[in-house]
C-alpha cells in the first residue's frame, strides 16, 4: 500500500514536472497500406495521458519532447516513438503476424468472435509473399491438426491433405472445401483422376504379381493417369482468410460431409473507407530438388552385358535426366482494386500466372478474375455477389511420365540420331528395353497432353436485418466446372514395335453444382445472457456430364482432331446427378461471459443412399468456461489475459463414401458379345439396401490461453475420433452370389493432440521477434474389420494391409535381412524366425503367411516452426516443417536396382557396390543371385522391407526476406501507399534419412490410404521467388 502511494506521488510529480514543457502533438496513424486506423490507443509512456485516434486516424495529445508515445491496436504490433521536437507524429502500424484472437471467425452459415468459440477452429491468413499454385499448399504447416504433404513436383497435381488423421477406408479423406458458402468440387482421387493413355492401352501385362519387380508398373491407374488438383483453379491472392473446422461441434453444421474436417475459404471484400489498388509481380526460378545418381552409358552396358552376356554394346552416354529437365522460370502478375462508394463496396481482382515445369516443354497457365460486390439497399437490406472466373491451361500432364521414363531410359542410347539429326527412336542396339520409353525427349516435345479447366464459383445473397439482433439470409451459389482433356500422341516410326502412336483422345466433362442456403441468424444480449444462433436449410444439386472419344490412325499430322481420325470411337458418355437436402440449427449460449454452451443439429438427406437409409442426423454439443473472467484468476493471476476451457462431442459423416446409387441393383448392357445373337444385361452391382452412412463421433477437449498481454498465446486440443459403421469392401458368404461388397462393418479410431504456441519473444520499436510452433500428433487404430479381422487391400492397388488392432493402411511385407557376406545371396526372414536365401514370395501358398506388418505412411508427429524477425523495414520469415514416424516405399530405388525385367531400365550407381568377393559387406546382392528365379528378381520387389524407409524429415520449407519501403519515402510519391520487395526461397534444405530425393512425395496423389509410394515420382522443386507488391 505504501509503495503504491509513493509510486503515485512520484508519477504525479513526474507528470507535473514534464507538464511544464508539454505541448500538443498531432498526427495520423495508418496501416501498412496507408489506410487510416481508428481506435488506436495513443499513450504517453510513463503517464496516464492517453487518447484514441478518430476515424480518419488522427489524434492529438499533449506531450513533452522527451516523452515516448506508444501506439497500440489489437492485431497490430505496438509502436513506440520519441516525440522530439516535432509537432506532427504520424506513424504506420504493422499488422501483427500472430493471428488475432478476437477476430471474427467464419464458422459455417454464420460468424462468431474467436473468444466465443467452443469448437476447435484454426484460422489461417494467407501470406501474399509466397507463391502457391493452390490453396491446399498454402495450408502446409499453418495450422495444428492439418497434415499437408506435396505429392509431387508435377504442376497442377493433387496433394495429400488430411485433418486429424484417416477417418475412412473406402471413402475420401479429403476435407470439404467451402468457398464463400459454396461447397465446391474438391480433391478426391476418384473424381479427379484422368486417363491420359490416349485411347488404346499398349500391351501391358495386367494383373501382374503383387510382388512385382521394382515399380508399381503393372498398375494401369498410375501409369496412364494424372490426378489434377481442382483447387488450382482458385487464385490464392483472393483469399482473405481460411478457417479449418476440426472438431465435431465445428463440423456438425456440415453434417454428413464434415467427418474429414471442413475448410472454409473467405475471399476478400472491399472496404467502404477508400479505394485501394494492389499490384504484385513475382518471378520464380525452379530446379528439381535433387538428382539421382544413375549409371552412365558405359556402366549400363557393362552391367547388362554381365547379366545377359550379350546384347548391350557400349554406344552413347546420355544423361536423360539432364536431357528432360531445365531451370524453369515462372511469372505471376496480379492486380486488385477494392473500395467502396456510398452504400456499395467492391473487390475486383485479376491475375495471370505462367508456371513452367522443370520438365521440358511442360507448363501451366492460370487466368483468374474475381468480383465481389456488396451493396446496402437500405438500412435493413444488403445484397451482394461473389464471383470468380478461372481458366486453367495445364500443358504439363505428361511431365511425370517423361520424368519417370527418363529415369529408366537406357543411357547408352543417344537423344538424337547422329546421321539424320532426328530423334533417336527405340532401344536398339540394346536387345531389350521399354518400347514405350522410345525417347523421353521426343515424348516431351511431341506428345500433346493438356487440360483446360474453366470454372466459375460464385454466389449471390440477400440479407435482411429487421432488427439489430436478427438477420435473414438467402443465398444461391454455384460451381460450374468444365474441363477438356486432350491427349495426342504422334505417329511413330514404323520400325518401333510395342508402342502405339498416332492416336488421340478428347474428354469433356461438364460439372454443375447449385447450392441454395436459407438461414436466420440471431445475436442477442439480454442482461447477463448472450444468445447466438443460426437456423437454416440447404439444398445442393450436382449434375455431371462426361464424354470421351478416342481416335487413331490419323491420315496426316495436320488432320489431328479426333473427328478426322480414320478409326474413332466413343469410350465414355454419361450423365449422373445427385442431390443433398439439409436442415440445420445451431445455438450458442453464454452467461456472464463466462459459461458457454452450444448445440448443433443437422439433418441431411442424400440421393446416394437408398430410401431406407437416406437421412442422417448429426447432433453435437459443446461447453466452454472462460476461467479468466472468474475473480480468482483476475485477482491472483494478473498475467493471464485469457483462459478458456472448452469441450465438445458430436457426430459427423462423409457423404460420397459409396458410389452413386449405392444401394440399387445396377445392370449394364454387354456391348462386346452376345448370347447366341441376343444382347444381354449383366448385373454389375447387386442391390444393397443395408448400405448406410459411416458415423464418426468426435470428442474434443481444448484450452485457449493468452498470457502477458498477448505475448504468449497457446491453443491445445485433445481429440478422440471414433468412426463406426465404417464402409469396408468385405467378404460375403458366397451363397449370396457375391464375394465382396461394401459393408458398414468396420470401426476405427483416431486420437491425438493439436498444439499451437505463439510467442512474441522480443518487442521493441525497431526489432520484433515472433515465433509460432504448431505440433500435431495423431494415432490411428482399426478396432473392428471383417470376419477374418484382416485383409489385403484390393481396392486401390496400393497393396496396403488392414488388420484389427493396427493402424489403417499398413505395409505388409516380406522381411529383407540383407546380403550374406560369404555368398552374396540375399537373406530373408520367415515368420518362424528362420533365415533363408529362398525368397518367401516364391512360395505362393505360404507367401502371405510370411509377411510382417511394417508401419504406415502417415506420420506420428508433424508440425511446423515459424519465426518472424522484423528489424526496422526489413522482415525475415522462415518456416520449418517436419513429420516424424512415417514410412515411404522407395519404389524408385527398387526400379533402379531391377535388371531382370525386359525393360532393361537404367540403374542407380549403387548397383556398382554389388557383392563381388566373399566377405564383402554390402546391401546389394550379387548379380543373378539365389533370389532371381525364372528371370524374376525377388530382391527388388516392393513388397519387401528392403525399400521401406523412414521418411521422417525436417525441412526449411520457406524463407522470406522482405523490405518494406518506408512510409517517409512513399509519402513523397503521393500515390504509392505501400511498396514491398521480397525474396522467397522454398525447400532450401531438408534433413532426412530418406534415401530418395523428396521424402514428401506420394504417387497416389490425394489418397491418404494409398500414400507413401515414391514411384519414380517427380520431386518438388527448389524454388527462388522474387517479387514486389505495391498498393496505391
Amino acid at each position: 500500500m505504501k509503495a503504491k502511494s509513493i509510486l503515485f506521488v512520484l508519477l504525479t510529480f513526474f507528470s507535473v514536472s514534464v507538464s511544464a514543457q508539454k505541448r500538443t502533438v498531432k498526427g495520423k496513424v495508418v496501416d501498412n497500406a496507408g489506410n487510416p486506423l481508428e481506435m488506436v490507443s495513443v499513450h504517453v509512456k510513463g503517464t496516464n495521458v492517453a487518447t484514441y485516434t478518430a476515424n480518419d486516424g488522427g489524434y492529438s495529445i499533449s506531450a513533452a519532447p522527451s516523452d515516448t508515445l506508444s501506439f497500440s491496436l489489437l492485431g497490430y504490433n505496438k509502436y513506440f516513438i520519441k516525440v522530439g521536437d516535432r509537432n506532427d507524429v504520424s506513424v504506420s502500424l504493422k499488422e501483427s503476424n500472430a493471428f488475432k484472437m478476437s477476430d471474427l471467425v467464419v464458422t459455417g452459415y454464420s460468424r462468431q468472435e474467436r473468444r466465443d468459440l467452443t469448437g476447435s477452429v484454426s484460422s489461417v491468413k494467407p501470406d501474399d509473399r509466397i507463391g502457391f499454385q493452390s490453396v491446399d499448399q498454402l495450408l502446409q504447416g499453418k495450422a495444428p491438426g492439418v497434415y499437408m504433404s506435396n505429392s509431387s513436383g508435377a504442376l497442377g497435381g493433387a496433394n495429400l491433405l488430411t485433418i486429424r488423421g484417416i477417418s475412412s477406408i473406402m471413402g475420401d479423406n479429403n476435407p470439404l472445401y467451402v468457398i464463400d458458402g459454396v461447397p465446391v468440387y474438391s480433391t478426391d482421387r476418384d473424381a479427379n483422376n484422368m486417363d491420359v493413355s490416349g485411347g488404346a492401352i499398349p500391351g501391358i501385362a495386367m494383373g501382374g504379381t503383387h510382388t512385382g519387380g521394382g515399380t508399381l508398373k503393372y498398375d494401369h491407374e498410375l501409369k496412364y493417369s494424372f490426378e489434377r488438383n481442382p483447387l488450382a483453379t482458385l487464385n490464392p491472392d483472393d483469399i482473405e482468410s481460411i478457417e479449418i473446422l476440426k472438431d465435431a461441434f465445428a463440423t456438425a453444421i456440415y453434417g454428413s460431409r464434415g467427418a474429414a474436417g471442413v475448410i472454409l475459404i473467405t475471399t476478400k471484400k472491399g472496404s467502404r473507407d477508400r479505394t485501394q489498388v494492389n499490384v504484385g509481380y513475382t518471378v520464380s526460378i525452379d530446379r528439381p530438388m535433387g538428382k539421382l545418381d544413375l549409371l552412365n552409358g558405359d556402366q549400363y552396358s557393362d552391367i547388362y552385358t554381365a547379366y545377359y552376356k550379350k546384347g548391350f554394346p557400349r554406344f552413347a552416354n546420355t544423361d536423360w535426366i539432364d536431357a528432360v529437365t531445365r531451370t524453369a522460370v515462372s511469372h505471376g502478375v496480379n492486380a486488385s482494386v477494392s473500395g467502396g462508394q456510398g452504400k456499395t463496396t467492391y473487390f475486383i481482382s485479376l491475375s495471370y500466372d505462367n508456371n513452367q515445369s522443370y520438365v521440358i516443354n511442360n507448363d501451366m497457365q492460370r487466368y483468374a478474375a474475381r468480383m465481389n460486390l456488396n451493396t446496402a439497399i437500405n438500412k435493413y437490406l444488403d445484397m451482394g455477389l461473389n464471383m470468380s472466373l478461372t481458366k486453367l491451361n495445364n500443358n504439363a500432364l505428361t511431365a511425370s511420365n517423361v520424368y519417370a521414363m527418363a529415369l529408366k531410359k537406357a543411357p547408352n542410347i543417344p537423344v538424337y540420331d547422329e546421321k539424320t539429326g532426328d530423334y533417336y527412336y527405340g532401344y536398339a542396339p540394346n536387345e531389350k528395353g521399354d518400347p514405350e520409353a522410345y525417347n523421353p525427349v521426343a515424348i516431351a516435345y511431341n506428345n500433346d497432353e493438356s487440360l483446360e479447366d474453366t470454372r466459375v464459383v460464385g454466389n449471390g445473397y440477400l440479407e435482411y436485418r429487421p432488427t439489430s439482433w436478427i438477420s435473414l439470409r438467402s443465398e444461391l451459389g454455384t460451381d460450374l466446372y468444365n474441363s477438356f482433356t486432350n491427349i495426342r500422341k504422334p505417329e511413330l516410326p514404323e520400325t518401333l514395335s510395342g508402342v502405339i502412336g498416332n492416336q488421340a483422345s478428347e474428354s469433356t466433362s461438364l460439372k454443375y453444382k447449385i447450392v441454395v442456403n436459407n438461414t436466420i441468424n440471431i445475436n442477442k444480449i439480454f442482461g447477463q445472457h448472450f444468445l447466438q444462433g443460426v437456423l437454416g436449410q440447404s439444398y445442393e444439386y450436382t449434375q455431371e456430364r462426361y464424354n470421351s472419344v478416342t481416335g487413331s490412325d490419323f491420315f496426316s499430322p495436320e488432320l489431328n482432331g479426333v473427328g478426322a481420325a480414320q478409326e474413332k470411337r466413343v469410350t465414355s458418355a454419361y450423365m449422373r446427378q445427385y442431390a443433398l437436402f439439409s436442415a440445420f440449427a445451431r445455438l450458442n449460449y453464454q452467461w456472464k461471459h463466462r459459461y458457454m454452451a452450444g448445440v448443433t443439429y443437422r439433418l441431411d438427406g442424400s440421393s446416394r443412399y437408398n430410401r431406407n437409409h437416406r437421412y442422417l442426423s448429426t447432433p453435437s454439443f459443446s461447453l466452454g468456461w472462460r476461467m479468466s473472467e472468474e475473480n480468482f484468476i483476475k485477482d491472483n493471476l494478473k498475467w493471464v489475459d485469457q483462459l478458456k476451457l472448452r469441450g465438445s462431442v458430436g457426430l459427423s459423416s462423409k457423404d460420397g463414401n459409396n458410389s452413386y446409387y449405392g444401394a440399387q441393383a445396377v445392370y449394364n448392357l454387354n456391348t462386346l458379345t452376345t448370347y447366341g445373337g441376343h444382347s444381354y444385361l449383366q448385373m454389375s452391382q447387386p442391390g444393397n439396401e443395408n448400405l448406410d452412412w459411416e458415423r464418426t463421433i468426435t470428442y474434443d477437449a481444448g484450452l485457449d490461453v493468452e498470457l502477458f498481454k498477448g505475448r504468449v498465446q497457446m491453443t491445445f486440443d485433445y481429440f478422440y475420433k471414433k468412426t463406426t459403421n465404417m464402409l469396408f469392401s468385405s467378404d460375403l458368404p458366397l451363397y449370396t452370389g457375391y464375394t465382396k461388397e461394401n459393408q458398414n462393418i468396420a470401426d476405427m479410431m483416431n486420437q491425438g493432440i493439436d498444439f499451437q504456441l505463439i510467442t512474441t519473444n522480443i518487442q521493441t520499436n525497431d526489432f520484433q521477434w515472433q515465433s509460432i510452433l504448431n505440433l500435431s500428433r495423431s494415432t490411428n487404430k482399426i478396432l473392428k474389420l471383417n470376419f477374418e479381422g484382416n485383409q489385403l487391400d484390393q481396392a486401390n492397388s496400393s497393396y496396403k494391409y488392414y488388420a484389427e488392432g493396427e493402424p489403417v493402411a499398413q505395409w505388409y511385407l516380406h522381411d529383407w535381412v540383407g546380403v550374406d557376406p560369404m555368398t552374396g545371396d540375399p537373406l530373408w526372414r520367415y515368420a518362424d524366425g528362420s533365415i533363408s536365401k529362398i525368397p518367401p514370395a516364391s512360395d505362393y501358398a505360404r507367401s502371405q503367411y510370411n509377411k510382417f506388418v511394417c508401419g504406415t505412411a502417415m506420420p506420428d508427429v508433424y508440425g511446423s516452426f515459424t519465426n518472424t524477425l522484423m528489424y526496422k523495414d526489413f522482415e525475415l520469415n522462415f518456416m520449418f516443417t517436419f513429420a516424424l514416424g512415417s514410412r515411404m516405399m522407395n519404389s524408385t530405388r527398387a526400379t533402379l536396382l531391377t535388371y531382370t525385367q525386359s525393360d532393361a531400365c537404367n540403374l542407380g550407381t549403387e548397383i556398382l557396390e554389388m557383392w563381388q568377393i566373399p566377405g564383402q559387406q554390402t546391401d546389394i546382392p550379387k548379380l543373378n543371385n539365389a533370389s532371381v528365379l525364372n528371370g524374376y528378381d525377388y530382391t527388388t520387389s516392393i513388397t519387401t522391407t528392403r525399400f521401406l524407409e523412414n521418411n521422417s524429415y525436417l525441412r526449411l520449407k520457406t524463407l522470406t526476406l522482405t523490405y518494406n519501403v518506408p512510409q517517409r519515402f512513399l509519402l513523397k510519391t503521393k500515390f504509392i501507399r505501400q511498396f514491398r520487395i521480397f525474396a522467397t526461397f522454398t525447400n532450401l534444405f531438408t534433413i532426412t534419412k530418406y534415401s530418395g530425393l523428396d521424402p514428401e512425395v506420394s504417387a497416389f496423389g490425394s489418397s491418404a490410404t494409398a500414400a507413401g509410394y515414391d514411384n519414380s515420382t517427380m520431386p518438388q522443386s527448389r524454388s527462388y521467388q522474387f517479387g514486389i507488391r505495391a498498393s496505391f
Partner: protein, 504 residues
C-alpha cells in the same frame, strides 16, 4: 419495410419450394430393377444375362467382357476322378479329386468358385423372378414365360450344386445337408442372419417345384436347332427327367423312376426333335472339328444337330462367346487315358473320331475328346435326345423290373448309330441279357460311351452305387463321392454351414 419482409419471405419460400426436390436419381447409362423389368426387351436381356451366368457356372463363359469367369469346373467334375479322365500328376489343380483328399488350395479354388458362381447365377434368377413380378408391365403370358425360364435356370443350378455338395444327395440321404436355399434377391448382408444348409430333401423339392412350374409356363414349340439355347417345355421336361432319375435310382424309388420314364417318353415324342441314325451326325453336326490356330482361319460349321435339346452357343460364328473348356483341348491338368479304348469297340466312331490328340503343342502324346476340339469355341451340349433315349431305356427296365423290347430298341438306336455303314455290329436282343442288372450295366456303359465328357459319368456312378465298378470311384469311400463345401463358407458362417459327413 413491409415490402422487404414480403420480398425476403418470397425468396425463402421459393428456396424451400425449390428444395422440395427429388432425392431419387437413377443412373443414365445403367438400368436399375424398376427399369430393367418394366418392359419386355430389357427384361429379356436380363434373362439372357442369366443364361450367361448359368453357362459361367457350368462350363465357363464370358461374364463381363471377353474374359472367362471360371474355367468350366462344374462340367469337368462329371468325368474327373473317374476312369474317363486322368489327372496329370504334377497338375496343381485337380490332383485331390483322385483320392478325395482336398487341401486348402482346392478349398480356395474350384470348391469355392463352383459354389460361388452357382449362387451368383441363382441370384440373377431370383432378381428376375421378383423383378418381373413386381415391375413388369408387358404381356402377361410373356412375363410368365420369363419367370419360367429363370426358374428353369435356378433349378438347373440347384440340381448341380446338390450333386456336387449335397451330403450323399445322390445316395438317397434325404435328411443329409443339401445346400443353402436362397430364393430372394441378395440385398445386403447381415452377419447375424447367416443361413445354414437345407436338407437334401428340401433342395430336391425346390428343384422339382421350380421345374414343374416352369413346365407349365414354358412354350411348347420346339424352335429351330440353332435357337435351342433357351428353355422350352420339353427341355424342362428333359431336365426334370434327369432330376428324377438321379434322385430315385439309388433307393429304387419307383415313384421317381416312373416320373423320369414318363418325362423322357414325353420328350422323345415331342415333335421338332429328330434322332439321326447316321454315324456322320457326330462329325458334321454334333461335334464338328472347330480346331483353329491363331494364324489360320476359323472353320465355320453351321449345321447343328436336330437332336439338341438345350446347349450353350459357343460356335465360332457367335462372336466372342467361348466356353471355358480349353483344358480338354490342351490337356494341361488332365487327359483322356489310353484305357478308354477298353470302353469302345475299335470301329466305334466315338472312339475313332471323338477321341483325338487335341492341341499338338501341349502334351502331344496324350489324348482328349473331340467334344471340345477347338478348345473354346464349341457348343457345350447340356441336353440331347440320346440321353433321353438311354434314360427311357433304363427307367423302363427299372420300373418294370424286366428287360423289354422297347428298352432294347432304344439302346440299339444309340449303339448302332456309333458305327459307320458296313461296320455295324449285330443289334442287341432281349435274350442277350441274362438279368435286369446285365441290361442296366450295358445301358449305363452305353451311356458312358455316348455321353462321356458331357458332364454325366460321375453322377451316374454315384446314383447307381458304382454299378459299373469304376476303379477310381471304387477306391474312395462313398461318403466322399460328393465334394466338401469350401472351408471359407464354413468360416464366414461361423460354423452355421456345416461340412459334409465324409470330410469332417
Amino acid at each position: 419495410m413491409k415490402k422487404y419482409i414480403s420480398f425476403t419471405g418470397l425468396l425463402i419460400a421459393a428456396g424451400i419450394l425449390f428444395n422440395a426436390c427429388e432425392l431419387d436419381y437413377a443412373p443414365e447409362n445403367t438400368l436399375v430393377d424398376e427399369k430393367v423389368y418394366k418392359d419386355k426387351k430389357s427384361a429379356e436381356a436380363a434373362l439372357m444375362g442369366n443364361y450367361v451366368r448359368l453357362n459361367v457356372f457350368m462350363a465357363g463363359a464370358p461374364q463381363d467382357q471377353n474374359n472367362y469367369s471360371n474355367l468350366g469346373y462344374t462340367w469337368y467334375l462329371g468325368d474327373l476322378g473317374t476312369e474317363n479322365l486322368n489327372v496329370r500328376e504334377k497338375s496343381s489343380g485337380f490332383v485331390a479329386i483322385e483320392k478325395a483328399e482336398y487341401t486348402s488350395s482346392e478349398h480356395d479354388s474350384y470348391l469355392r468358385n463352383i459354389w460361388y458362381w452357382g449362387y451368383n447365377a441363382i441370384d440373377f434368377s431370383n432378381n428376375i423372378i421378383l423383378g418381373v413380378n413386381r415391375y413388369g408391365q408387358y404381356d402377361a403370358q410373356m412375363k410368365k414365360q420369363h419367370i419360367a425360364e429363370a426358374k428353369f435356370i435356378r433349378a438347373y443350378i440347384y440340381f448341380y450344386l446338390l450333386n456336387i455338395y449335397g451330403d450323399q444327395a445322390l445316395l438317397g440321404n434325404d435328411n443329409g445337408d443339401g445346400v443353402v436355399l436362397s430364393l430372394q434377391p441378395y440385398n445386403g448382408y447381415n452377419p447375424d442372419e447367416v443361413s445354414g444348409r437345407s436338407t437334401n430333401a428340401a433342395v430336391w423339392s425346390q428343384i422339382i417345384r421350380d421345374l414343374e412350374e416352369a413346365i407349365t409356363d414354358l412354350p411348347a414349340a420346339v424352335p429351330d436347332a440353332t435357337s435351342r439355347i433357351r428353355a422350352t417345355k420339353s427341355s424342362a421336361q428333359a431336365l426334370l427327367s434327369r432330376v428324377y432319375l438321379y434322385k430315385g435310382t439309388y433307393k429304387n424309388n419307383q415313384a421317381d423312376l416312373v416320373k423320369a420314364r414318363d418325362l423322357a417318353k414325353t420328350v422323345l415324342s415331342t415333335s421338332g426333335y429328330a434322332f439321326s441314325a447316321s454315324s456322320n451326325e457326330f462329325i458334321t453336326a454334333l461335334f464338328p472339328n472347330n480346331e483353329y490356330t491363331q494364324s489360320g482361319s476359323y472353320p465355320d460349321p453351321t449345321t447343328r444337330s436336330n437332336e439338341l435339346i438345350f446347349f450353350q452357343p459357343s460356335r465360332l460364328y457367335v462372336d466372342n462367346y467361348p466356353c471355358g473348356l480349353s483344358y480338354y483341348y490342351r490337356k494341361l491338368n488332365f487327359f483322356v487315358p489310353k484305357t478308354i479304348e477298353n470302353l469302345y469297340d475299335k470301329d466305334d466312331v466315338r472312339l475313332d473320331y471323338l477321341i483325338w490328340t487335341g492341341s499338338k503343342s501341349d502334351n502331344p502324346s496324350d489324348s482328349t475328346s473331340m467334344k471340345y476340339s477347338g478348345g473354346e469355341y464349341n457348343d457345350v451340349i447340356y441336353i440331347r435326345l440320346a440321353e433321353m433315349k438311354l434314360t427311357y431305356a433304363e427307367t423302363l427296365v427299372r420300373t418294370s423290373n424286366s428287360v423289354t423290347t422297347e428298352a432294347v430298341a432304344h439302346l440299339n438306336d444309340i449303339h448302332q448309330r456309333a458305327y459307320p455303314e458296313g461296320l455295324k455290329p449285330a443289334p442287341y436282343k432281349v435274350a442277350d441279357f441274362a438279368s435286369v442288372d446285365d441290361f442296366l450295366k450295358e445301358v449305363l456303359r452305353e451311356r458312358n460311351r455316348e455321353l462321356a465328357y458331357e458332364g454325366h459319368y460321375r453322377w451316374d456312378l454315384m446314383r447307381t452305387n458304382n454299378l459299373l465298378g469304376d476303379t477310381k470311384m471304387g477306391a474312395i469311400d462313398k461318403t466322399r463321392w460328393n465334394f466338401p463345401v469350401s472351408d471359407y463358407e464354413i468360416r464366414i458362417s461361423d460354423g452355421k454351414i456345416k461340412q459334409n459327413t465324409g470330410f469332417n
